[in-house]
Amino acid sequence: MTDATASPSSAKRNRFTAAFKILAFDKAASIGCLIVLTFCLVALFAPLIAPFDPTEQHILDSLKSPNALYWLGTDEYGRDLFSRMIYGTRPALFVGVLSIVVSIAIGVPIGLVAGYRLGWFDRVIGWLIDVMLSFPSLLLALMMVTLLGSSMVTLVAVIGFSYVPVFVRLTRSSALVVSNLEFVAASRSFGASDLRIIWRHILPNVLGPIIVMGSLSIAGAIRDEASLSFLGMGIQPPSPSWGNLIRDGIGVILQSPWVAVAPGLALTLSVLAFNMMGDSLRDMLDPRDLASSGEKK
């Protein structure tokens, strides 16, 4: 049994060692990682970085353009935009990362079982996924926020739930391929239980695409949080979020166009960073794609 499974395990180890190497040496991946790390530090040390309390109003200084005191200017209530943007990093990363953890925690086990066992379970899951995918994900999230009310926890649940079909589909298709490989048949012939095969042999071999999709989905989830907050269904003012800051900016776009620009740049940069990481990891972990694209990082 050891012989039958040693090869895929070592291949898996090699793949992940290589993945970490690419994160360290690939230019795009390194830049992506660095930006993500910076955002994490900004979120963590926001009270030390922000010069003002993000909800503190200075009515006499409303809609000030960027200056030495207010680096990015102020909004219509005189709140410091730089401080609000710094604090806006927190909900973006919190919701973005946690929601994808939730969707992976739900989607991956379902996809593993569906891809390994097939049969009626797979058919029912496939049909439910079709139903979920027929809603635009933003609409699904909007509807669920209407049902559950808007809070940080609701946003994590709602956005996480809307990404479940992505992970179910991806895991199912990967598990389907892996479960037909010889080492799985060998394990089965040695009397390994289904649970053991799924946990020890199939899951480690489908983790690569899941990690790639996870990174790309965090980018999508950050965008979704901002979109919901932009529509007034996410983080509620006066708490800052990049989405509601852009929304505030739309209201004063004629007088103070800069209000909407800076939070949008932060949003775009964070999404770009996670996409860069995901893209590089995909190049590394998907040899077929690499071969077809003919590019070696």
């Binding site: 209407t146 979109s227 776009i253 909407a260 620009v261």
Partner: protein, 314 residues
């Protein structure tokens, strides 16, 4: 072919029924009483009872469900709880605005994305490829509503080429309609272009490594003919599939774009309905979106044979 079409149609109908059921019961799960929400905190009990009776909310839930399904089948989506206007009338009045936005953005996306994907694949590992990939990555990362804001600031606030508010009446001329479609369609279309370019590049690279392309080169066909006649046709299948799958995203993007530009459309209608808790409008609007997504996916499935004669539906 016929049996495949029937099977796909039945499957789509089943999914539509599931969506309708899900949306109907989800709306009934909301803890707040819709009548109370619509009439406000100070409405008398008699008024609330009268409203519930008028909207059929006092009927048993299964009877409401049956009426809803029968209504949908007959094209009657009920009346808006807030305005009292027929929901179908509101939806069908605004649908052309969203449809034109989605189609225009798809047109822009394809017009930029497909050639860009082809060129970056043909000129792989050159500066053109790097720039094209940079554009694709940037577009992939730009939230559509933020791009809309930037376009608004540049072209409406600074250059004043377009109005800030893009509301357009039905009586407006075609030229006015088109003028007010440019920025919203660009903001959605540029994002689509990046998706399509990435996909086209990847599909083109895979196709270019196929034996038949090598054979075409070997027999001396001009590069243009090999790339655009032999390779591109096979590239279109995954691209069209992805464009179909992006319908949901385009519609989701339309919700945001219509809000930024204050442009009439289904998305803006639905966001308004959600903020006003107009349940009849929400359930019908969501159903309409699902119907469009399913229809496009069905059409995409059936269009494969057009692009690839090898595809058989047996």
């Amino acid at each position: 072919m016929h049996s495949y079409v029937i099977k796909r149609l039945l499957s789509a109908i089943l999914v539509m029924w599931a969506v309708a059921t899900l949306v109907f019961f989800a709306m009934r799960l909301i803890p707040a009483d819709p009548a109370q929400v619509v009439l406000g905190d100070y409405a008398s009990q008699e008024l609330i009872e009268a409203f519930r009776h008028k909207m059929g909310l006092d009927l048993p839930i299964l009877q409401q469900y049956r009426s809803f399904l029968v209504g949908v089948l007959q094209g009657d989506f009920g009346r808006s709880m807030v305005t009292g206007r027929p929901v179908a009338e509101q939806i069908f009045t605004l649908f052309p605005y969203t449809l034109s936005l989605a189609l225009a953005s798809l047109l822009i996306g394809s017009a930029i994305g497909i050639p860009l994907g082809v060129i970056t694949a043909i000129r792989r590992n050159t500066i053109v490829d790097s720039l094209g990939r940079l554009f694709a990555l940037a577009g992939f990362s730009f939230p559509a509503f933020y791009l809309a804001v930037i376009l608004l600031i540049v072209f409406s606030v600074n250059l004043k080429w377009f109005p800030v508010v893009h509301s357009v009446s039905q009586e407006a001329s075609l030229l006015e309609h088109l003028h007010k479609l440019v920025l919203p369609a660009l903001s959605l279309g540029l994002i689509q272009a990046s998706f399509i370019a990435r996909l086209t590049r990847s599909a083109m690279l895979e196709t270019l490594s196929q034996d038949y392309v090598r054979t075409a080169h070997a027999k001396g066909l001009p590069r243009r003919v090999v790339f655009y006649k032999h390779a591109l046709r096979n590239v279109l299948i995954p691209v069209v599939t992805a464009m179909g799958l992006y319908t949901g995203q385009i519609l989701g993007g339309a919700v945001l774009t219509e809000t930024v530009f204050s442009r009439p459309g289904l998305g803006k209608l639905l966001v308004g309905a959600i903020s006003q808790r107009d349940y009849t409008l929400i359930q019908s609007g969501v159903l309409m979106f699902a119907f469009v997504v399913l229809s496009v996916n069905l059409l995409v499935d059936l269009s494969y044979a057009l692009f690839d004669p090898r595809v058989k539906y047996d």
